[in-house]
Symmetry: C2
Subunit: 250 residues, 2 copies
DNA sequence: TTATTATTGTGTTGTTTTGACACCTTTCCC
DNA sequence: GGGAAAGGTGTCAAAACAACACAATAATAA
């Protein structure tokens, strides 16, 4: 029984100097959203309402992707979600730069020198059961994130940059869309991510070159305009057709 | 004096669960090279000659870029060199997958659960004074790296991938070239990195669109063919002209 | 001195891609 | 039935791309 207890302790033991912070992107109503957590921060006799990214320390027995997936499960109730590491933040003073935030976090830590690995995640918000969403969490328009605890704004900015960067190489938008979607939904998603607009005809010509974008024999229902044709993403075709770019920046 | 001694200890204190491993790229004689370190590994009565990437634990007071630069200084004697983090490797068993390597490394560690942050670095080999190069280090053709200790081959592969990936966004090749270089030198460098060939006329037309590639009024000397015109990279122009790509993968 | 070698530097053509642009068709709601 | 709000479509000029050969120039050898 003692040996069982020690083994159990190792499984859940966290490494005090390493954490994972997650930038969880979702898409809904033509808006790119990010999940933030609320905290009440007492400071000098006042209570401040603050927002931060979800995060946690890694466990001794975990790979960091497992940590990220665990955080996601805790926050949204979802499993098997796309997660990708994007950057390490390792300033020794990263938690100390704001006095208020530091006073709040210090008692929660074993060691206040914490390196964090940033992960971004992409969620189709149709899959999110809001009753499973952790009570203190909220989806915020990605373009309205302007003040977060610690260096979390910087982490968010870097994640957003990396998402755009990665879209040059991989069609990640499918992680944010339902299984069946219209071309316009996808267009508006790209527009939301890149904060730009694409000409519909040019965009349709471009995406129709994606061998893994499959037109369905179904159309939208319940819309007060001409119903759009539905499409889906074929992961097998995508994997079979992946090619590397032998290309460089001018 | 006791307080001074404690302060000194903190400055150099390393974090036992976090390290940095460096993939140092150099370019010479039309070959892309990588710096590897030799180790003699005793195992079951035999001594094995092994190669690994340079690496070290981070210090409590260091940002990981500082760690990477410190490793570079140790290995090559150089300072102010381009370094970029590319990936975190966090498998809890990453050091244990090979028994021989593990037995060698174990006594050197405080904790055998070590997360590492991979950095790649780009060096102009003309800047390297080989007398400053650490004795146990060697430059190896990047295409001939096939067996390294621990997960270092995987780290190397990922760095190489990221280098190519990043070249889609930034003209990093200038970090590998001397201040004055010929267009053909640069062409062969791109060819070495992408392991492909470019048509000279098409390549020249493409690079002549780089606003930051400055033709000099100098030509090569000491060559037994028509001397090529020299060019240089203007970082100020590059920074002024940076634009983001609103582009996605088909 | 001349010939040889090994490069450097250059333009053209056909094909493909890109950027800019407007209007008919289809559903729901009043 | 009319209006609103979309979905879906093609053309043209310009730019980019892929494929392709030979004159010019320095060092070295004969």
């Amino acid at each position: 029984m003692t040996s069982e207890k020690i083994k159990h302790k190792t499984t859940f033991e966290t490494l005090p100097t390493i954490s994972v912070d997650c930038v969880i992107f979702g898409y809904e109503e033509n808006m790119l959203k990010v999940l933030v957590r609320r905290e009440f921060v007492p400071f000098q006799g006042q209570i401040y309402l603050e927002w931060k990214l979800p995060g946690n320390h890694i466990r001794r027995t975990e790979d960091i992707s497992e940590t990220a997936s665990r955080i996601l499960k805790e926050q949204t109730g979802l499993e098997n979600i796309f997660v990708k590491q994007f950057m390490v933040f390792s300033d020794p003073n990263r938690l100390k730069n704001n006095e208020r935030d530091y006073e709040w976090v210090k008692p929660r830590l074993e060691d206040d020198r914490v390196l964090t690995v940033g992960f971004y995640s992409l969620i189709n918000l149709k899959d999110v059961d809001n009753s499973k969403l952790i009570e203190v969490a909220k989806w915020v328009n990605a373009y309205e994130i302007n003040d977060l605890m610690f260096d979390h704004k910087e982490i968010f900015d870097e994640a957003f940059k990396k998402l755009r960067y990665d879209l040059l190489h991989e069609p990640l938008v499918f992680e944010l869309l339902p299984v069946k979607f219209t071309l316009t939904q996808m267009q508006k998603l790209y527009e939301a991510i890149f904060n730009t607009t694409y000409d519909k005809r040019n965009y349709r010509r471009k995406v129709n070159k994606m061998p893994y974008l499959i037109p369905l024999d179904e159309i939208q229902t319940g819309v007060s305009h001409k119903p759009a044709r539905l499409y889906t993403f074929d992961r097998d075709i995508y994997e079979k057709n992946r090619t590397e770019r032998f290309d460089f920046r001018v």
